[in-house]
């Protein structure tokens, strides 16, 4: 019996050797053998394909679930955009990592840069720095561009007071008031891009103004 050709594993029902060995028996046997081997072979091929495809997609699904869990409960990359955090973060082209654990544990405090869901438009997220936590008295310049007028207020319970580092061009708690802690989604802790300033963001606290 000659060795099987390499394509035989793909189309097992085309095995001509099978037919040749049976030429000595009845013609009807040959025909039924061909038909049955074709049917069985193609069926097996299809079930194999389906099973393999199912397993592969299951694996992809599991991987996506893992990604989601890491993204929502551990950390996530963020591309900050806009001038409001200017001395610390560039207005465009940065890549930073946001961790979710300390928000979840309630350990976000004064001086931390946070990612938060905007209270004015829930589809947007903002990056600001926490200036005061619940119970703090915050004094802020109302409109530093044009006047020195300042105002003082107390941050209510369960809320935080957030401001941008670049107070001249930042829409923050000075416009929309203190925000609920529930809107805080994570704390910025590591900068990836630009590579020149790769590293931790913890020490990068803004000097008191």
């Amino acid at each position: 019996m000659p060795p099987p050709p390499p394509w035989l594993s793909v189309f097992p029902f085309c095995d001509s050797r099978l037919v040749r060995t049976q030429q000595t028996t009845f013609q009807i046997d040959i025909a039924s053998d061909i038909v049955s081997s074709m049917v069985v072979g193609s069926l097996k091929l299809w079930t194999d394909l389906v099973v393999e495809g199912f397993q592969k997609s299951l694996r992809v699904g599991k991987f996506l679930c893992l990604l989601h869990a890491i993204d929502t409960y551990v950390c996530t990359p963020v591309l900050p955009y806009g001038p409001s955090m200017l001395p610390t973060l560039n207005s465009t082209g940065d890549l930073v990592l946001v961790e979710r654990v300390s928000t979840w544990l309630g350990k976000v405090g004064r001086g931390d840069m946070v990612l938060l869901r905007s209270s004015e438009d829930p589809r947007k997220t903002l990056i600001k720095r926490i200036v005061g936590v619940e119970g703090d008295t915050v004094t802020y310049l109302v409109d530093p561009k044009y006047s020195d007028a300042s105002r003082t207020c107390v941050v209510p319970w369960g809320n935080v007071w957030v401001q941008g580092d670049y107070i001249y061009n930042s829409r923050d708690s000075r416009t929309f008031g203190a925000v609920s802690y529930g809107l805080v989604e994570g704390k910025l802790f590591w900068r990836i891009w630009p590579l020149k300033s790769f590293g931790s963001l913890h020490g990068k606290a803004k000097e008191d103004s």
């Binding site: 679930c65 989601h68 869990a69 829930p122 209510p156 369960g158």
Partner: protein
């Protein structure tokens, strides 16, 4: 060696199931129980049992809600607490506050009230709430079985005209 690999297999299986469950409950739907009587005619009509409800999360993609939806949100004063109430007004609507002045709901906020207004802690005490605090919308009651039903969106005639509202002086 054999028991160790068996243990590892079991842990892996549980971990996978947990991850998949977590993803589904975060992104698509989850089941929560309701305590308290603040939504009393709709949920927990008798005080002895807790209702379990299906909470869908698709609405969090676009934050599109309508008047009368029942939503679960974290309390604006304490992020660890979750409340379930009915939306009464959306951004731009006018609403009457308990001290009888009329207020326009600000952009990105909503106004909630419990169905059982006597024992309900809602927007009448803490004002408009940011939409970003919403954690999901209640669509079905799943337990107990005899109360299994859809949750109707109740744009209530009783509550929208200000004059018909019961007033307590």
């Amino acid at each position: 060696m054999g028991t160790r690999s068996l243990l590892w297999d079991i842990t892996k299986k549980y971990l996978t199931v947990g991850l998949v469950g977590l993803t589904i409950s975060d992104r698509y739907a989850s089941i929560v129980s309701i305590r308290g009587s603040s939504m009393s005619p709709a949920f927990n009509p008798g005080s002895d049992t807790n209702d379990y409800v299906l909470l869908e999360k698709f609405c969090l993609d676009k934050y599109r809600f309508s008047d009368g939806d029942v939503v679960v949100f974290s309390s604006p004063n304490n992020h660890k607490e979750k409340h379930i109430k009915r939306i009464r007004a959306l951004p731009g609507d006018w609403i009457e506050t308990p001290n009888l002045d009329v207020l326009k709901v600000p952009e990105g906020h909503f106004w909630v009230e419990g169905d059982n207004s006597v024992s309900s802690l809602d927007s009448r005490s803490f004002g408009p709430i940011p939409l970003g605090l919403i954690r999901g919308r209640v669509t079905h009651i799943v337990w107990p079985p005899k109360r299994m039903d859809r949750v109707e969106r109740e744009t209530n005639q009783r509550l929208s005209p200000i004059q018909d509202r019961p007033k307590f002086y």
